[in-house]
C-alpha cells in the first residue's frame, strides 16, 4: 500500500492504494473525474522528493504527494 496526499487547495483526504509504479497511481487517480484537473496541473513528489518520471518503482509505505500550482510570497 502507498499513501496519496493532496496538498494546498486540493482539499481531499489522503488515500491508501495498491500501486507498484507511478503509472499505477496515475491509472487509479484518473478514474476520479473531479481530480483530473488537479492531476493535469500538479507536480508529484515521492517521499517528499519531486519526481519527473513515471517509472519510479514504489515500495510499501511510500508517500506520494500532489502539489498544485504554487504562489508564495
Amino acid at each position: 500500500m502507498v499513501r496519496i496526499e493532496f496538498l494546498g487547495p486540493i482539499q481531499r483526504e489522503s488515500l491508501e492504494i495498491e500501486a507498484h509504479t507511478l503509472g499505477d497511481v496515475a491509472d487509479i487517480l484518473n478514474q476520479d473525474q473531479e481530480l483530473k484537473e488537479w492531476i493535469a496541473t500538479s507536480a508529484v513528489a515521492v517521499n517528499d522528493t519531486l519526481v519527473s518520471s513515471l517509472d519510479v518503482v514504489l515500495k510499501d509505505g511510500d508517500k506520494i504527494s500532489l502539489l498544485p500550482p504554487v504562489c508564495g510570497g
Binding site: V25, I39, C71, G72, G73
Partner: protein, 148 residues
C-alpha cells in the same frame, strides 16, 4: 535560516536580527526582498498554506548554491492570514560582493515564486479563495495526467 511564522511578519525586528547576526561575518552586501500584501481587487488579505518538508529541501539546495559563491541566503514566510499592508515574505542574500548579491537575489526570489510549495488564497468577505490565476505550475507538473 528558514523561518516560518503564524500570521504577518514583524519586518523591522527580523531585518535587524539578520543584520546583527551577520555583521561579524564580513559580508559587504545585504539585500532583503520584503513582500507586502497590496490592497487590490477588494481583498481583505491573503492566506498561505505551506508544505514544509519540500520547502526545506528547496531552501537547503539554495543554501548550498549560495555557499559555493561565498554567499548566504535566509528566508522568513507567513503561514495563515496576512492582512492588507502587512508583510508575508522576506528573502535575503548576504554576499561579500555586490554583483553576486544583486544577481542572486533576483534568481532566488524568482525561483521561490516558481517552485516553493506555498499556496496563496485571497481573503474576501472572510472566505479563503485559492489564487488560481496567479499561481504557477511547478516544473514537471502534469506527470500523472492522462496522455492525449
Amino acid at each position: 535560516m528558514l523561518e516560518l511564522y503564524s500570521g504577518a511578519l514583524d519586518v523591522p525586528t527580523i531585518l535587524k536580527r539578520w543584520y546583527e547576526e551577520e555583521s561579524p561575518n564580513n559580508y559587504g552586501a545585504y539585500i532583503p526582498f520584503i513582500g507586502t500584501v497590496r490592497a487590490e481587487d477588494g481583498i481583505e488579505g491573503l492566506s498561505f498554506d505551506i508544505y514544509e518538508p519540500i520547502l526545506k529541501s528547496w531552501f537547503v539546495a539554495w543554501e548550498e548554491k549560495a555557499a559555493k559563491m561565498g554567499a548566504k541566503v535566509v528566508m522568513a514566510h507567513s503561514i495563515g492570514d496576512v492582512m492588507v499592508h502587512e508583510s508575508s515574505y522576506i528573502a535575503a542574500v548576504f554576499s561579500p560582493k555586490r554583483r553576486v548579491a544583486l544577481e542572486l537575489i533576483d534568481e532566488y526570489v524568482e525561483d521561490f515564486k516558481a517552485s516553493a510549495p506555498i499556496w496563496k488564497y485571497d481573503i474576501i468577505g472572510g472566505e479563503r479563495i485559492y489564487a488560481k490565476e496567479r499561481s504557477t505550475q511547478i516544473k514537471g507538473s502534469g506527470l500523472l495526467g492522462v496522455k492525449i
